[in-house]
Amino acid sequence: MPNPPQAAELILRALLPADARECVSGDLLEEYREARVPSAGQFRADLWYWRQVGGIWLRAYWWLVAPVVLLLAFFDTLNYVSSPLGASFGLPTGLPFAVQPPLVAVGLVASAAAYGSWRTRRWQGGFVAALGVSAILWSFAVVWSNATFYPFALRAQSDPQWIAAWHWSTEHGHAPRSDTFLNWLYWDNVGSLIIAGLVLLVTSFVCGGVGAILGEVMSHRRRRP
């Protein structure tokens, strides 16, 4: 008998609450083997299975991720429309403001992990929640930074700090001497996204692990009479 992708099956079982795990995964397996593979072939049936797993993840955790993504987009938009000379709309600036988005991301990943393992009563559930949240945050960052690159560059080209950073990079050999500001800024953005992805991955494992264990302990307490 054909089997769905092993990774998808593992994620699905980690994602489902204890009382639904066997029945729901059994329903999907039955549909996969009896209907999807015979009618659409293994590859399309595998895609269907992945889609179902993704849908179950989104239904469980969208409410955690959506407000944070909207908040980050809102603050970033305010950043773009502030004065080219750096005056903002009374928003806090400097280091405290710079560390807020990463702190929000770390807090969100840890909360998702704790909630995920509490909900599924397994630390694996928390881990899947944390990894999923990180993947969505990173995907959002990639799409958002590319979509808003032009207004960001417009603002950055008249910001003395960005100009100084560009000069420093070209003078210290981090970028070619002939590099234009726009080109340098683009690759700086790409580098930031790669670093952000790695940081989020490490955060998922560390904070996700802590949150997942915390959530499992809480779910065990909940079960006591």
């Binding site: 066997e22 729901v24 329903d27 999907l28 549909e31 179902q52 849908g55």
Partner: protein, 137 residues
């Protein structure tokens, strides 16, 4: 606030949390069953003793004539059970499911009442309109 009747015959009761249609004396409350909830409940009624997750999913897909996510059906079943409209019991597994059990659902009296209320409201809202509905635009 007194309702004001528009040219279409509907009333506007802006200070109420619900829509009141004066012609038919019907009140639609906010916590009425959603259309997807109705589809799932009706699928359970139709399937009778055979109403388990996958069968309900297929029935809903067939009636709505579109692909439906298994997660959406599962979440709806859990919500309906929490509301006390359906009850579930575990059944045995089969080899095609690798022996994993099936969860069978039954609509309770409260669920049937909710379905009947939803139907009554639906029919009242549409009564008097030609089919298909034609607008001015």
């Amino acid at each position: 606030m007194a309702p004001t009747t528009s040219s279409s015959g509907f009333c506007r009761c802006d200070d109420h949390a619900f829509l009141e249609i004066c012609d038919y004396n019907v009140v639609i409350v906010a916590d009425i069953l959603g259309s997807f909830e109705q589809a799932v409940l009706l699928a359970i009624v139709r399937l009778d003793d055979g109403a388990y997750g996958r069968a309900i999913l297929n029935e809903v897909e067939m009636r709505l004539e579109r692909d439906v996510a298994a997660g959406a059906v599962q979440a709806t079943l859990e919500r309906l059970e929490r509301k006390g409209l359906v009850r579930s019991r575990l059944g045995s597994g089969t080899p095609i499911r690798d022996g994993r059990p099936r969860r069978f659902y039954t609509v309770l009296a409260e669920g049937l009442r909710a379905l009947n209320d939803a139907r009554k409201t639906h029919e009242s809202v549409w009564r008097g309109f030609p089919r298909p509905l034609k607008g001015r635009g």
